[in-house]
Point group: C2
Chain length 144, copies 2
């Protein structure tokens, strides 16, 4: 439960990149404005996102960011897995590593936490960026 603002910003930024896919690089400042994300913070976020390989950048005049994977082949799950890669721990939704759990992974709740995690990622994996683009008709996708 709870996805950090940073991760939500990352998803919105990728969504914005997807909207302009094939039309050349798009500037950080534009994404920041249209997606209501603090610009300097977005710099940090996109810098990290580059390491995923899903986006690329180009410097200088007419530079910016590009989505280098087709929107239909990129799922929210792909992104979330990358964004969560060094999160506290994925093992049991706990804020401690499994190794320091007093039950050593033999906790009664363990199987349930696994099912929850799987249920979440089922939804993420079933949602491609293209799906979001398709849903985005009628004023959606932009702040008021």
């Amino acid at each position: 439960m709870l996805v950090t603002k940073k991760n939500q910003y990352a998803l919105r930024a990728v969504f914005e990149l997807a909207k302009h896919q094939g039309k050349g690089p798009i500037k950080i400042s534009h994404i920041a404005e249209v997606q209501a994300i603090p610009e300097r913070f977005l710099e940090v976020i996109l810098g990290q996102l580059k390491k995923s390989g899903f986006v690329q950048s180009k410097r200088g005049y007419q530079g910016g960011y590009l989505l280098v994977v087709p929107a239909s082949e990129l799922s929210v799950g792909d992104l979330m897995r990358f964004l969560q890669r060094n999160a506290p721990t994925e093992a049991c939704m706990a804020p401690v590593p499994e190794s320091s759990c007093p039950f050593r992974g033999d906790c009664v709740f363990f199987p349930m936490w696994r099912r929850v995690r799987e249920a979440i990622y089922d939804v993420y994996d079933q949602t491609s960026i293209q799906d979001l683009l398709d849903d985005d008709r009628g004023g959606k996708g932009y702040p008021l």
Copy 2:
């Protein structure tokens, strides 16, 4: 993603109460020891849990806590809904209230967050405390 330690403690405490259901009150100090929960912290947690109506307490000699709902009629979902009642917001898994979202609930990701939340609670609702008791055979349920 991520359930606080406090909430995990609450679930474990209820599980421990369920184990002794029908055998009179069980002391905080016992639950704390056997479930590896800081005792003074557990006082706070159980104090709040009382407000749910699922547990009751008895003071003085031979006092302690009791689960007043049958384990088969109490689901993890019931507990989580109570525990999350005044969390940041349930609206879109974001750490901000829906009212201050720049998209005013018209965000492209909104439906996905809803599906994720539903998927999580499906698992929670399908898991009764009795199920956990049934699974708890062979050393499970206690720390090493």
